[in-house]
Symmetry: C2
Subunit: 135 residues, 2 copies
DNA sequence: TTTGGTGCAAAACCTTTGCATTAGG
DNA sequence: CCTAATGCAAAGGTTTTGCACCAAA
C-alpha cells in the first residue's frame, strides 16, 4: 500500500472533467464511455471521446468509479461510494443497487486463505430483472 | 424453456474441434482464444484463429466452458464441470480453483428477492496470489 | 509561465462476418 | 452426396497512443 494515491495525482478542474463527473452523478447506473460521450454531446457540453476515456480511467484508478465488463467486453462505469461493496444489477434497465454482506466477505477470505492465497480481492455481481421491468 | 439446446446443435468431430478441446483439458486454467491459437500452432496442430473463436463460442453456449473477462476486456475460457460454481484465480499464474458455498448461493438469492429481482444469476470471482507464486 | 489536459486522427486490440473451399456423416 | 465446419481476408467495435494545441494554476 501507500502507493501514493490521492496526493500522487494532481487533477485540474477542467470543464470536461466536471462534465463527466456530473453526468456520472446524474446517471447513477453503469454506463459505457461511448454512451457518456453521446449524452454529453446531446447536452451541448461537447467532450472528446478520448478525454471521456482518459477521465474515466483516472477516476477508476482513484477508486471514484466502479468498472465492470459486459459480456461483450465493453467497460461500464458508475460513480460509487469509496467503501467496498457489490452490485445487484437489472439486466433490462441497468438499475443498480449496492449490496454487501459481512458473511460473504469473510467467506471469500476464508476460502482464499484455506487454499493459501494471499493479497485477496474479489468481485461479486448479481444480475436479475428488477420489479419495474418484470411487470 | 425447451429452447432446444442439446439436440439443437449438431457437432461434427473435426480435427480442429478435438484439438481445442484437448488443449482446454490440458491447460485447466483460464486462457484466451489467442493464447490457445498460439499454443496449438506451437504444437504443430494448426487451427485457424477464427475456428478457435467459433469453437470456444459454441462450447460456451453449450455450457462446456466458463467465460470470464479480464480487466482489459479479453475473454478467457476454461473447461469446467457443468454444475454451478465459482472461481478462485491466481492473479500471477492464472491457476484456478473451483469453489462454491451454499451459504453464498442463498445469500445471493435472498438479496435479489428482497429487492424484488427475478430471474437471478450471479458471478463471483476471488482473485489472489497462490502459494507457489507468493514464495 | 509551466505543465497537465484536450482532441483529432491513426493505430492497436480483440472479435466477428462474408464467402469460397474442405471434409465429416 | 449434403451440409456443417474451416480459414482467409476484411470489417466491426472498443480502447489507446502520438502529437500539436490549449488552458488551469
Amino acid at each position: 500500500m501507500g502507493t501514493g494515491e490521492g496526493a500522487g495525482t494532481p487533477q485540474r478542474n477542467t470543464r470536461q472533467r466536471v462534465a463527466v463527473l456530473d453526468m456520472l452523478d446524474s446517471l447513477n447506473q453503469f454506463t459505457s464511455a461511448q454512451d457518456i460521450h453521446g449524452r454529453l454531446r446531446d447536452n451541448g457540453s461537447t467532450v472528446g471521446l478520448t478525454t471521456v476515456y482518459r477521465t474515466l480511467q483516472s477516476l477508476a484508478e482513484a477508486r471514484q468509479v466502479d468498472v465492470i465488463r459486459t459480456d461483450d467486453g465493453e467497460a461500464m462505469y458508475r460513480r460509487c461510494t469509496t467503501e467496498h461493496h457489490h452490485h445487484l444489477v437489472c439486466r433490462r434497465c441497468g438499475r443498480t443497487i449496492e449490496v454487501d454482506s459481512p458473511t460473504v466477505e469473510s467467506w471469500a477470505e476464508e476460502v482464499a486463505k484455506r487454499h493459501g492465497f494471499a493479497d485477496i480481492n474479489h468481485t461479486i455481481e448479481i444480475y436479475g430483472v428488477c420489479p419495474d421491468c418484470a411487470s
